[in-house]
């Protein structure tokens, strides 16, 4: 069994307009030392999926009865969704799982020093004394490449640069030695050069700490750099998944193809961009059948809008959910 496994995750939100489906039948596994990329446009449900792993979704979130999230630790298997009390939740909140967010500035409390926030977390999750926790925090700040770590420890987030803040965030997230790190668009708010540095750092740390990363982004370029495997999400469903090279070089789902085509090509700058046509439908008007059929260039009439395509394996651990693939196979 793998370190983290998500099975049939269904997630809906109770709102004034009714129940909105955010995640539908999502399953994936994450192994030790592996980086899994979760790609999709905004609103595709990737952040919500990640937050489910820590039960961080707001209280109007309703998990489907068949949803299961299992975490295999040395101490046994943890059923994440059945954790209720805040003390139990500490295991997945900052203990075995840590999370870093898109906006490093906004994810530090503005009026509490970075050191205090790091120590506070360590006191919850470890048996260290305050002094030891402070020493470890400075050590971690140094490890992620922050200069003058002892000084930064006493500083506030607004006194650091963007890249430094995200490094500090990573230091804080890793200080409790989590098994899984969730990185929710960790480099989106950074300059490209800083972005490359932070990605390098994260790759190094995966090796050093032997943990797994769930890397969420809309940027396929970033995925190509860091991920081992990738899952592409659209409207709360995983439409295609597989090893990163397989998926990016030979995508089979029309949505993945569309995403890759939408990227500007450096060797043909004069070519017009080809965006995925149409907009993401409103969550209130979830399309029946295949959720992508309203925008799909390869849509099959009377089929895609009527039934949901099953997951089909195309080899090398590469799978996608699309009727068009099956037709290709049947034709072959």
């Amino acid at each position: 069994m793998s370190l983290l496994s998500v099975e049939n995750l269904h997630l809906q939100f109770d709102t004034d307009e009714g129940r909105i489906t955010a995640v539908e039948d999502v399953s994936f596994e994450l192994n030790e030392g592996e980086v899994l990329g979760l790609v999709g446009e905004s609103g595709s449900g990737k952040s919500v999926t990640a937050k489910s792993l820590m039960q961080l979704n707001p209280s109007n979130a309703v998990y489907g009865p068949e949803s299961g999230i299992h975490l295999e630790l040395d101490s046994g298997i943890v059923e994440v969704l059945s954790l209720k009390k805040s003390q139990e939740l500490e295991i997945v909140r900052g203990g075995a799982i840590s999370m870093i967010f898109q906006e490093p500035m906004a994810s530090f409390a503005p009026a509490i020093t970075i050191g205090n926030q790091m120590v506070e977390q360590l006191l919850i999750h470890t048996s260290l004394s305050k002094k030891e926790a402070a020493e470890l925090s400075v050590e971690m700040l140094e490890r992620v490449g922050i200069n003058e770590p002892a000084k930064r420890f006493f500083q506030y987030a607004f006194e650091l640069s963007g890249g430094m803040r995200q490094r500090a965030m990573i230091a804080m997230a890793l200080s409790t030695r989590p098994k899984v790190l969730i990185a929710d668009e960790p480099t989106t708010a950074l300059d490209v050069t800083i972005q490359a540095q932070v990605l390098e750092l994260m790759k190094d740390l995966v090796k050093e700490f032997g943990m797994a990363i769930l890397f969420i982004t809309h940027d396929l370029g970033v995925i190509a750099q860091v991920a081992d495997r990738v899952s592409v999400m659209y409207l709360g469903k995983i439409v295609e998944s597989g090893p990163v090279r397989e998926v990016l070089h030979s995508p089979v789902h029309p949505y993945t193809k569309g995403l890759l085509n939408a990227l500007p090509k450096l060797d043909a700058l004069d070519e017009p961009l080809t965006p995925v046509p149409g907009d993401i439908p409103s969550p209130l008007e979830r399309p029946p059948g295949c959720v992508f059929h309203t925008r799909c260039p390869e849509v099959i009439a009377d089929r895609c809008n009527a039934s949901i395509p099953a997951r089909a394996d195309v080899g090398h651990g590469h799978a996608a959910s699309c009727f068009a693939i099956k037709d290709m196979e049947e034709a072959a």
């Binding site: 805040s86 939740l89 500490e90 409390a109 503005p110 009026a111 919850i124 804080m172």
Partner: protein, 322 residues
């Protein structure tokens, strides 16, 4: 900065006192005239010389401001011919005491309830908080004062008006008089605090809701911080900044309400005196003195809240220190 504000305000106050047609001497003499005395122009000039009113405007302005700032001396009232400091002394403290108590009361209630109602998902508690606070915002304080007085008079046959019982009214301050004062003062404090509470409650609630939605709170709970610690150390601490910032403003609002309530409840306090001096007796010296005292209080409170803010929030601290 605060001191500069005070100087400017006092200069403006003095200028406004001057802009009113007629000076102190003329007004006093005119007042005497209505009492049946025959007054000549010579009398007026003599009175002006006695009061130093023949000197140029700027010199008088600075000598008045000098007296106010260095000696705390406001001179004599135009009409009442009494020393203003003497006239105001008790009233200043009573007014400030009532206003500050109302302010304290309103925040004491508003901060915890506002935070609770922002966090709580209990619809009954939430809606009743909303109902009461809208009632507080919509109900003018003088109406509330009238209603309470009517109720107490009908129910207990005794009016709750006034700040002192008869036997203490002119007595010197003592423990007994103080207790008597406290036993009656809670009512105006409550009435004034009511509207302020409603207002502060809405502010605290809105700020808190705003802060709770912020990423750093999610990030903190993603680190395993939960319960009261999560609430107070994170969003509450950060949402109180603007609340503290508005203290001076709130005090001003309470003070504006005070004269109306005071009039109904026949309280002897400074606001009522100000209206009297401005609207009826045209006593500019007295009105000016009250305005300066009021401004000084608000400026002082703003100064104090700035310091509290700087202690609480490192961003403000950096802004102040450069």
């Amino acid at each position: 900065m605060s001191i500069l504000t005070l100087v400017i305000v006092s200069f403006i106050v003095f200028s406004m006192m001057e802009l009113v047609p007629g000076n102190c001497a003329e007004r006093y003499i005119a007042f005497k005239n209505t009492q049946g005395q025959n007054i000549t122009v010579e009398d007026i000039r003599a009175e002006e010389r006695r009061l130093g009113l023949d000197k140029p405007y700027l010199i008088r302005a600075f000598s008045w401001m000098g007296d106010v700032f260095f000696k705390g001396e406001f001179g004599d009232s135009c009409i009442l011919r009494l020393n203003i400091n003497h006239l105001l002394s008790d009233k200043v403290w009573i007014s400030l005491g009532i206003s500050l108590a109302a302010l304290f009361f309103s925040y004491l209630v508003a901060i915890p309830i506002g935070i609770y109602s922002a966090v709580s998902r209990n619809p009954i508690a939430n809606n009743s908080v909303r109902f009461i606070s809208y009632l507080g915002l919509a109900l003018p304080s003088f109406l509330l004062a009238l209603m309470i007085m009517l109720t107490t008079t009908v129910l207990f046959g005794e009016s709750m008006s006034g700040l002192f019982s008869k036997e203490y009214r002119d007595a010197a301050w003592s423990y007994a008089k103080f207790m008597d004062f406290m036993s009656r003062a809670w009512l105006p404090v409550f009435i004034l605090g009511w509207a302020a509470t409603a207002f502060a409650l809405q502010t605290v609630r809105a700020l808190m809701l705003d802060e709770i939605g912020k990423l750093y709170v999610t990030a903190a709970s993603a680190r395993g911080i939960s319960g009261r610690k999560l609430l107070w150390r994170y969003p509450a601490k950060h949402s109180l900044g603007p609340v503290i910032n508005s203290l001076g403003f709130d005090l001003n609002r309470i003070f504006n309400d005070l004269p109306v309530v005071a009039l109904i409840m026949t309280l002897t306090e400074m606001g009522a005196l100000l209206i009297d001096a401005l609207a009826f007796s045209n006593d500019q010296q007295l009105a000016g003195a009250i305005l300066v005292v009021l401004t000084a209080t608000i400026v002082f409170i703003n100064f104090v809240t700035d310091i509290i803010l700087a202690l609480m929030d490192p961003r403000v601290r950096q802004g102040l220190m450069g």
